[in-house]
């Protein structure tokens, strides 16, 4: 990458504070193979600002002023770094270098692949075994006498964007599996993603059927029938098409579309109306603009928020999750979810439903596993959607951003329900874009295997786990009512807020803004030290733990016995 750096160092650069433009730090700007680094001259503070090249979304250069050339760097996590460079030539060089460095053409140029994989070989290998997807299926009780593992996709024979290991209804024979996959876009046949042990209802996912106006597939019809039969006691299933009905109908002209209720016995078709990736891309750009407005009036802000449509889309995704979760937990009905290809809206709807249904997915490890399952393993196209390499801008779309935001909106409604805090979500978002770890490279499990990413890069998950103290929600308690069972969020429009922690992080205040999270975290840390001190003096009975109050005593003996 070094050959793309035209100017490795520029002196007397000003880093401008956008909230107080008159305040600026003077320092030196360095371009390295991986980062843009600004180091303040002031010998007392020497503050450093680092921006990873892969996080750079764009670099603007407004017209040169008498005091120099401005460079405005927008990052993929919606931060803005504004620099003033004395010489126009230097500014142009920096801009050109960054333009190239921030848009790698090959995977090998990415940060995670630029480091020697064998430097920490053992640590690297260990990092990839941190999460075990199969163990999570076993945690759900799968396989069982209803759902079994099929070898049909080993070596990615029926679907190259699916994981090699798939769970299907026990009654689905190999011809049904293969036939169904042939009748689905890109071979993405209906398979299990979540199994609800209490009701025996399941969430399955797939892509749209190749039904056009009249085509049908006996095997695909049998597949959906088999899914229904894998839920004893139910006599129909829901097919949730997460697209607006109009879009789904338009697809029929191209030989695709949705299930004809006359051909599939015992299905109830439900359209949800989540918009496509292009609408979402434009909408996010608008809400980023709202976050960057300099001194908006309240009217500007609310109008911008409304016309971006962003919260409306977030609500649609959450509503989809709520519909699925209610069907599974309250009605005990299995749900088959699809959109067009079944890797964007389907991933959103299924993973939101899992978060609502299953307390485990509201823990740090659980959310990691959920992303690993519904997004990574099922072929969400990370490298295309998050622009890892120079490519088609029409493929880019903030699909997982919306999932993470749904989780954030939920955490605002259920402050005790999540083990992690906002910072965890913001950090996950960052890593989806940054490519510092190999987890999100490529567009499918097969691509990652072919690239040998496990051998060449490290996994993000153990790193996040190591830093879990800073991502912990102090209000979370495993035995709290909010951490039990299903979440039933209110999705009335007034329950949605703009995610300031994501789209409007710049704002400063004096004295620094206090957050209850940080304060309570500090209190809990102190509490722990006090407990240790007391335990050392045998003041605390052996049962005493880090849990606040005396709530633990409320647990009935039989309940604690069964745990």
């Amino acid at each position: 990458m070094m050959e793309h750096i035209r100017t490795p160092k520029v002196e007397n650069v000003r880093l401008i504070d956008r909230t107080a433009p008159r305040k600026a730090m003077v320092g030196t700007l360095y371009l390295s193979a991986t980062h843009t680094i600004f180091v303040e001259n002031n010998p007392e503070t020497r503050r450093e600002t680092w921006v990873l090249h892969s996080m750079v979304a764009s670099v603007e250069r407004p017209p040169t002023t008498p005091s120099g050339s401005h460079l405005v760097v927008h990052t993929k996590n919606f931060q803005v770094v504004q620099l003033l460079i004395p010489q126009e030539r230097d500014a142009m060089d920096v801009q050109a270098s960054l333009a190239r460095l921030s848009r790698p053409e090959k995977y090998s140029e990415l940060y995670c692949l630029s480091i020697n994989p064998n430097a920490n070989k053992e640590e690297r290998e260990e990092s990839w075994s941190f999460l075990d997807l199969q163990a999570d299926y076993r945690r759900m009780g799968v396989p069982n006498n209803l759902w079994v593992s099929t070898p049909a996709n080993s070596e990615y024979r029926v679907c190259d964007t699916y994981p090699s290991e798939l769970f299907v209804p026990k009654s689905a024979t190999p011809p049904v599996i293969v036939g169904s996959s042939k009748f689905r876009s890109r071979g993405r046949l209906p398979v299990l993603t979540y199994f609800h042990q209490d009701t025996l209802a399941a969430i399955c996912r797939c892509s749209q059927p190749l039904s056009g106006f009249s085509a049908r597939s006996q095997e695909d019809e049998q597949m959906l029938e088999a899914i229904m039969k894998s839920n004893p006691g139910s006599d129909y299933i829901y097919v949730v098409d997460t697209r607006p009905k109009l879009n789904a109908m338009a697809n029929r002209a191209a030989g695709k579309g949705y299930e004809n209720e006359d051909h599939y016995a015992n299905i109830k078709l439900q359209f949800i109306g989540i918009e496509n990736i292009h609408v979402m891309r434009n909408s996010q750009q608008k809400i980023i603009d709202v976050g960057e407005l300099k001194t908006p009036s309240m009217g500007d802000f609310l109008w911008g928020l409304e016309s971006s449509g962003w919260l409306k889309h977030i609500k649609a995704v959450l509503d989809a999750g709520v519909f699925i979760a209610k069907a599974v937990a309250e009605e005990g009905i299995s749900v088959v979810v699809h959109c067009s290809d079944g890797w964007d809206r389907t991933a959103q709807a299924c993973s939101v439903a899992s978060v609502l249904l299953e307390p485990y997915y509201r823990t740090m490890k659980g959310l990691m596993l959920l992303i690993e399952r519904d997004w990574v393993s099922f072929g969400h196209k990370f490298s295309h959607r998050y622009n890892h390499l120079e490519g088609d801008p029409k493929e880019v779309s903030p699909v997982i951003d919306q999932f993470l935001e749904c989780v954030w909106q939920l955490s605002e409604q259920f402050p005790c329900a999540f083990e992690f805090n906002e910072r965890f979500l913001v950090q996950l978002h960052r890593h989806v874009y940054s490519c510092q770890y190999g987890n999100f490279l490529g567009n499918s499990q097969k691509e990652r295997r072919d690239m040998g990413l496990r051998e060449r890069t490290h996994s993000l998950w153990p790193q996040l786990w190591k830093d879990r103290a800073q991502y912990a929600n102090p209000l979370y308690r495993a035995d709290h009512t909010q951490t039990q069972g299903m979440l039933r969020p209110n999705t009335t429009p007034y329950c949605f807020k703009m995610w300031k922690g994501m789209y409007n992080r710049v704002e400063k205040s004096s004295p620094p803004r206090q957050t209850p999270t940080d304060l309570l975290t500090a209190v809990r840390e102190e509490t722990q030290q006090l407990e240790e001190e007391l335990t050392n003096h045998q003041e605390v009975a052996p049962g005493g733990t880090a849990q606040p109050g005396t709530k633990q005593e409320d647990c009935s003996p039989d309940k604690s016995g069964s745990n």
Binding site: G291, G309, K312, C416, Q482, P493, Y494, R513
Partner: protein
């Protein structure tokens, strides 16, 4: 007039009550002079006791002989009563209508209410101007307490005692009063201990179209300036509104006559516009459609958040002039009883940590709103649902509380009280068993002899159990000036008031309880450890 004459049907059986978040109850409806009561004989169902004064509007509907009355309360709650029998329903409805709109002060509930709790400290005596002045005296000798208004003849909306510059005599005050709207001559609102700068407030100067001037008024406010220093006059109105006021005899301070003062105009709206905004906001919150676009556009169209932003911005400006610029400030709008008080009281929350305590906040409300002559009775006689033509109603104080909530939310550890206290004040300004917010000025309250005839809200609030309920577990005394962000992204809709009856707060309440637990448990352990350390220390000494 006897209440009995107004109650056409005192009692109906078999009435079904539906209200937010509580199960439906069937029981007996009773009307008394001041309350609408619904009780069922079953255990563990909560009775309804609703003050007629809390009722803002009612609607009647009939299906066959079953009548339904929708009761819309000033605290924004909406409840439904299903009453069997058309005649009973009509009687109840018309009785409620009359009882909830009685104008006669002598019939108001606080005059009938007898406290069921022991008054430890009489709230009517808790915040006397004399006591507040003692604090000021300990900081500066430049001010005196004048009793020029002892019989309310100089200014009917001022209290008998006001703080004014020491060098200005009562005669000057009288002349300045004649030059200010409503006789509201400039008086001390706040003294900033850190640098000795002050904030004053008044009504607009009566310059009229001819540009009248008043030497005494100029002398009065110049007396607050240090040699060579300039002050700021913050006019809460836009230039054009202030210009228009000249035609009606009002106006603003001209540069020529007040050369030592720089005038800044802001744009806080007049009270009638604020009332309209409240009505629109509440309507938006009650809209049942589930469209995001519609909600956001209605929220925007209500302009409520714009008002919050404008008021906070102006308060920050006043605070900035005092703390950052080291200048004294005079704040006024037209009458000096509404937007002026929003600004002066919020500026004190920003500047003065004492105002962020439970007692200090009461003192602030007492000083800057009650004593300062905010016409509570006029402003709060109707709320967002009323169909009758608004007269002087306006949510001026509610907007102030909303702004305090915004600051509290941004600085969750800097306030001794939680939002419960703000919600409680909102409720009691509109309907109360206490006399605190009755009347429109100190003079009216004194004529009604309320301190003898009614109980003060502060007597209730300042009991230990209530103080505990209103306390903020995160509070850590903070002696700093706190600068809230007034960016629109930082200002949220106050759910605790506007969505209170729309969405359940159970999960948020649980989070709050959890927070209290974490902090209490920590304190318990700290005590234990301290004891242990003390014991160990003592043990070592014995050895």
């Amino acid at each position: 007039m006897e209440f009995a004459e107004l109650i056409k049907t005192p009692r109906v059986d078999g009435v079904v009550l539906r209200r937010p978040f509580l199960p439906t109850v069937e029981g007996t409806l009773c009307l008394t002079g001041h309350h609408l009561i619904l009780s069922s004989r079953q255990d563990n169902t909560e009775e309804l006791w609703l003050l007629h004064a809390n009722i803002d509007a009612i609607e009647k509907r009939f299906v066959g002989s079953l009548g339904t009355i929708i009761v819309k309360c000033k605290d924004l709650r909406v409840i439904q009563l299903d009453i069997p029998g058309m005649e009973e329903c009509l009687n109840i409805a018309s009785s409620i209508e009359v009882l909830s709109t009685l104008d006669s002060v002598s019939l108001m509930y606080p005059l009938f209410y007898r406290p069921m709790f022991q008054v430890i400290e009489d709230g009517w005596k808790s915040f006397l101007p004399e006591d507040a002045f003692k604090d000021l005296e300990s900081m500066t000798e430049e001010w005196r307490l004048s009793d020029v208004n002892k019989d309310y003849s100089v200014c009917s909306s001022y209290p008998p005692l006001v703080a004014v510059p020491k060098d200005v005599d009562d005669d000057t005050l009288r002349k300045a009063a004649a030059f200010r709207h409503g006789g509201r001559f400039p008086v001390l609102s706040y003294y900033h201990k850190k640098n000795g700068m002050v904030m004053m407030r008044s009504g607009q100067p009566l310059t009229g179209t001819n540009g009248r001037r008043c030497k005494e008024d100029e002398k009065l406010i110049n007396a607050t300036l240090r040699a060579g220093k300039r002050g700021y006059i913050i006019d809460t109105r836009t230039v054009s509104v202030a210009q228009q006021a000249k035609a009606r005899g009002g106006g603003f301070e001209s540069e020529a006559n007040y050369p030592q003062w720089r005038r800044i105009h802001k744009a806080i709206e007049r009270s009638s516009i604020l009332q309209e905004s409240l009505i629109k906001l509440v309507e938006a919150c009650n809209d049942q459609s589930h469209s995001m676009d519609r909600w956001l556009s209605k929220l925007e169209a209500s302009n409520w958040q714009t008002h919050v932003k404008e008021i906070l911005t102006t308060a920050c400006l006043a605070a900035q002039c005092i703390d950052r610029e080291g200048a004294s400030v005079l704040v006024h709008g037209t009458e000096g009883t509404d937007s002026t008080l929003q600004v002066t009281s919020l500026a004190q929350i920003i500047l003065d940590p004492a105002c962020r305590t439970i007692q200090g906040f009461q003192a602030l409300v007492e000083r800057e709103w009650l004593q300062a002559g905010h016409p509570f009775q006029q402003r709060c006689s109707q709320s967002a649902y009323s169909n009758s033509k608004p007269r002087c109603e306006a949510p001026v104080f509610l907007l102030f509380l909303d702004c305090v909530w915004q600051i509290l939310r941004q600085f969750p550890c800097s306030f001794q009280f939680s939002q419960h206290f703000l919600v409680l004040l909102f409720e009691h300004t509109y309907a109360s068993q206490f006399g605190t917010f009755m009347g429109n000025s100190a003079s009216e309250r004194s004529k009604l002899n309320l301190s003898q005839k009614t109980v003060s809200l502060w007597s209730w609030v300042n009991r230990p159990q209530e103080v505990e309920r209103l306390s903020n577990p995160l509070y850590e005394a903070n002696c700093l000036v706190i600068w809230p962000s007034v960016a629109p992204q930082s200002l949220l809709l106050w759910e605790g008031v506007f969505l209170r009856w729309k969405r359940s707060s159970r999960c948020l309440d649980e989070a709050y309880d959890e927070m209290v637990h974490i902090i209490q448990y920590n304190k318990e352990l700290q005590n234990k450890v301290n004891n242990l350390r003390r014991q160990l220390g003592a043990g070592e000494q014995e050895d």
